[in-house]
Symmetry: C2
Subunit: 191 residues, 2 copies
């Protein structure tokens, strides 16, 4: 998606430790007009698919998932990272290790909102080592739902997540795949 | 907002400890079409105001804020609850105590995304004791930005947050104010 790649080149910041900072438009401040274009692009890529639900994970996946959902006319469910008073009843759980924070945590979704008849599209902002995406896939599997695929805004192609998950037979559509980035020169190479 | 009140009556669940569970359409599964109607309503209520930015807090405020932002053509910034590798540089910080989880935590926003020239509309899903909203107000004040007001989806009118914040001179627009709810009968009374 050319518009997105241009934006990454313009506003993305490469930080030590393979961190790609997109917080001026993607995951702290959010450019809603750009999210609209992202929604249209995912609709195009999954246009022949029947989808009944979009699944994402808090926090930075939620905004994109909600805007994207408008193009599919389906509800969004977000997996939660912390159990609160407000989640009671039966849940599906899986374990995730965050690349960004290094933390290991459980993600949960209420059984009420993920059913065996659902056809699920997973939406997330980043794909790096793939742990969050694999955790979401496990929730879909646990529910006996059909996973149609995953739509990712930015994939770090030099980390193993995307390849691993594609090899397991899951359709992953990433709108921008960064194959190389150089902290010193600031140069980003896309696949 | 009648459509919202009907939905709360139909799908809201009253739980012990004054917890009002809206997770089938508001803060776990999200009804994006309803969020669109919420966006139109906030646009109407703040129609004569110049707004340059919407501020919310992770996680459940993000989805609503993003859909609402489409009606104002402005970016959304969400305050973060946990400091990660991805937030570097200068931040504004304030302290929040969650009614739902009982936790006390800091919320932060990068100084880069909240400027003195901004005219800010705060959007959140719930207002109860008002701690999250007061935390967001402090971030706006710290930035020297102008606070236009706060748009809340559901206010628990029997908890002190809304009245306290209105008395401090802040415009708070709540789309549904629950004045009474009865766990045993399931009856919800709106203001």
């Amino acid at each position: 998606m050319e518009l997105l790649k241009e934006r990454i080149r313009k506003d993305g910041k490469i930080k030590a430790g393979n961190v790609l900072k997109m917080d001026s438009f993607l995951n702290h401040q959010m450019d809603i007009a750009l999210f609209g274009e992202i929604g249209k692009e995912f609709r195009k890529r999954f246009e022949n698919e029947t989808i009944t639900k979009i699944l994402t994970i808090e926090a930075s996946g939620i905004g994109i998932a909600c805007i994207v959902a408008q193009y599919f006319n389906v509800p969004v469910v977000f997996a939660k990272k912390n159990k609160t008073k407000n989640i009671a009843g039966e849940t599906y759980t899986s374990r995730v290790e965050s690349f960004t924070s290094g933390r290991v945590y459980d993600i949960i979704v209420s059984k009420e909102f993920l059913k065996s008849e659902d056809r699920v599209l997973i939406i997330d902002d980043f794909l790096a080592n793939g742990s969050a995406l694999q955790g979401l896939v496990k929730l879909v599997t646990a529910a006996g739902a059909t996973l149609v695929g995953a739509g990712i805004v930015i994939e770090k192609g030099f980390q193993p997540g995307g390849d691993l998950i594609r090899k397991s037979g899951i359709r992953v559509e990433s709108l921008a795949i960064v194959d190389e980035m150089n902290e010193e020169t600031g140069i980003i190479k896309f696949r």
